[in-house]
Symmetry: C3
Amino acid sequence: MLSAEENKLFTSVGAATPLGTLLRRYWHPVGVSEFVTSKPQRVKALGEELLLYRGQSGEAHLMQLRCAHRSLALDYGRVEGDCIRCPYHGWLYDASGQCLEQPAEPEGSGFKDKIKLRSYRTQEISGLIFGYLGPEPAPLLPLYDVLRWEDGVKAIQLRNVNANWLNHVENIVDISHLAWLHGHSFPAYGAKKVTYHWDRRDYGADNVMLVDGVRDDDTHISCYGFPLTNRFNVPPVTPGGEQVRTLLYRVPVDDVSTSLYFVRFTPGEKRMLPVSVRQEKLGEYKHLDSDWWGIDNSDQDRMAIEQQGIIADRVNEHLSASDGGIILMRRMMREALAAIAQGQDPLCVIRDPAKQQVDFGQRSLLMDQRQREGNYAGGFGRAMAAVD
Amino acid sequence: MLSAEENKLFTSVGAATPLGTLLRRYWHPVGVSEFVTSKPQRVKALGEELLLYRGQSGEAHLMQLRCAHRSLALDYGRVEGDCIRCPYHGWLYDASGQCLEQPAEPEGSGFKDKIKLRSYRTQEISGLIFGYLGPEPAPLLPLYDVLRWEDGVKAIQLRNVNANWLNHVENIVDISHLAWLHGHSFPAYGAKKVTYHWDRRDYGADNVMLVDGVRDDDTHISCYGFPLTNRFNVPPVTPGGEQVRTLLYRVPVDDVSTSLYFVRFTPGEKRMLPVSVRQEKLGEYKHLDSDWWGIDNSDQDRMAIEQQGIIADRVNEHLSASDGGIILMRRMMREALAAIAQGQDPLCVIRDPAKQQVDFGQRSLLMDQRQREGNYAGGFGRAMAAVD
Amino acid sequence: MLSAEENKLFTSVGAATPLGTLLRRYWHPVGVSEFVTSKPQRVKALGEELLLYRGQSGEAHLMQLRCAHRSLALDYGRVEGDCIRCPYHGWLYDASGQCLEQPAEPEGSGFKDKIKLRSYRTQEISGLIFGYLGPEPAPLLPLYDVLRWEDGVKAIQLRNVNANWLNHVENIVDISHLAWLHGHSFPAYGAKKVTYHWDRRDYGADNVMLVDGVRDDDTHISCYGFPLTNRFNVPPVTPGGEQVRTLLYRVPVDDVSTSLYFVRFTPGEKRMLPVSVRQEKLGEYKHLDSDWWGIDNSDQDRMAIEQQGIIADRVNEHLSASDGGIILMRRMMREALAAIAQGQDPLCVIRDPAKQQVDFGQRSLLMDQRQREGNYAGGFGRAMAAVD
């Protein structure tokens, strides 16, 4: 259990909070390439309202949402070259946030030179736009395996969860829930006796699950990329096909909602599928008669995450042996908070280019077994099949 | 008038409040038999979220909504026999709330023995499921006359009011409003000069109204069952028929909304009508051109209760002679609060089986007169006629 | 910039606040003649819920919304003559708020004589009903030119803005925004170099804009009527026609929403158009492809006012030379607050009948130029044309 104070500390993501300060030391997706154009848009991440647009140079720009003059939201403005113009009085800002024009000011006024919006670094890779909201020098963007892979079908899915980010990250490092929450979809471990352990890695941690009576090869490992990412596989789209390699970024929108960016990859002919977007509503889950819980496995995690309470009550939780991953993850968060309090980089920040390429130790042999039985088509599998 | 502090005291129903503690000393309806099945459901009463389901034994079970492990709402779980299983990690609880299984824990772990959900007593009678949320030993459930009667047509109606419970209970003990709010529907007392008095009874109090110039026989009495119930009659469904005996339970959902359970009975052939449910919206009332106020009499009370303000401002009220019932009811609430503060049973708690059967002294002769005039069909009358 | 405290002071309009007290020293529109009938209605102004109805005498009456007895909202009551009757127990109040009847009280009770609702003065002119919510003696209602004019077509438009009143008043005294926010609709000054100054007047202030390189005659002046009014012209409805004289009242509904009453006048045959009402939603603006900002000019101001934030963050604003009007207006507000703190009338309160008729120094020659070019039809112009 956590104290009420620590639960508050761990679940508050605003710029002025300790955890918000910590999360700002990492790169986060803030948009998808397909949707970012010269029409400026408003995005919200880590409790902060931001402006995102693509300049004439092709580069994506990220900055504070509101004009420094009188707070007008600049997503109502106009992109000119790589600059943004406020519609109220025509103030013009370049991509660094520097004010270049104040048309109604007297000739020769130097006032514009003193005005600069907060602007943020961006990087674009694999269909995602990442932003960095922390202090300089910015660390390197971890080049996770799925981001780098090119020879195959790639698909981005944008989803949301109506809950605090911590509910979601606790679901990653909680490996034993697979046997029950997703147990009907995956008979290989459904309601089976499982054991588990967690191994710290450079990128975060591995969540390892073993199923009693199944040969050692069939170990299931999902990987946690500290602080907000994970890697896992889902069953093939077609019988005998390859598992779908999945990288999942979570971005806290604010303290009560979270954006999800799935990047899916299957080896094969190089192709990028259109981005799929779904706006999920709290308490509405896709019904499935044949599942134990009456919920399609594509919505089971969201149900569990939202139905713990939008911000779970950790004062009254009772953690058990199977929650070792949660205990480890919280310890890593405390270590990271301590590091920045001491002026050091927190864990998993990469500054050495030799370490920028990150491969995960993910294994999903149990799913292969499931697949060999020939009777599974997961939510994503169906979606990809439909597109094909 | 009340002080702001006492208005707050009287209108706060949560478990940690004095009035919430008092109300937990009584049985309250928490569901209707027809709708409680092996599909677990979430109900809210007295500010508390609860789980309600029917086990294989046929018994209804009531307990805290959330799993002790990590707070998942158990209405997303599965009933197994008389137990409930959490969908997240498969923890299984029996009807007493005792944890029986924690599938992911190591063999031989005794952790489950230490885990017990708060569970609550239930009783089922006359189509209603009652719950008791207070300390042991539980008192007896008052067997009000309408609950016990069997030889006739019975109908349960489930409604809601978008206001605090106290607005509603004040409407019960306020007998003189009949002459105005409902005056057009009931010419026998509509806009007539009335007198009134209140008599304390074992079950609560009688609200007595007399109409100037009408013979003494035509006294109108409606009965208040402390703390949240009342008994009154409504006109017959068919000309010359019997009045409809009505018992009305109010259950505070939270501080700003109240559930209503009507139980209607008419002597005749034994029959149970299907439960009728309506979800009422604040400020939307059934329009009736011919009424003084333009509102159908089935919605007049709800209008008055909601339009005092969701929690009425009693600091600025001006009680008058006709508000003797309200003054009496508040005195009874204060007595009851004082009793539990001294470790005693509050008023109208029944522990002697000889006193469990409660008959009300209700009389509605004025309505008979109305009925003799042959031109009335009330909202409930119309509903019952439609069903017939 | 303002301190957080002063921003709060300037944006809080409730009866108990300093600015709410100040604004209560002036008359404000509370309804339109066409819609005020014997059916009582609820209106909200300056954070206060009010009852408005027209009595048999033809006079409009304004008083506190809730019955003194038990707080029932009297808009559910019934007008009798010039009185209002509460539907709950039939209490009857005259137009002064004096209670005349309490039908359920004992014969001879003097309780009703002690009960009086707060009632407020009203005046009806030019299709508007004005109310005065301040202390006696009430000042005179300023008879602005548009109100007095009779020989022509008059039209009232009722709109709302989902923002605090101060966002809106700052938009009045901010003359330079015309060149950008409305620049595409008015090429005479669109994106032109402008200069500006502000002149205090008995009625408030004139906002003067000059466009570089345009002859001196073409000065544009819009007038600010302290504290919440302004006067400006819009282009003619038909080519070669007269400009439409516009008077605009703002009424703070509460701290986060504002009502707008437009009174439009064009010289010609005497006629009153039907009142036009539109309920505007936050963030929904009429799209226009051909405008710089993609928003029809009838919605450009509302966009700017709402998209500063519902209550603009003035702690982080950066006022510039073009914001002289805002600085002046805030100074006037501070003077007015100081005056009432010293027991004096605040500025622009009129008590001398010789000064009650107010003419504005409004000029819009640039719009005439625009009109001469023959290619403009504004939103209001289109609306009036449609009606014609």
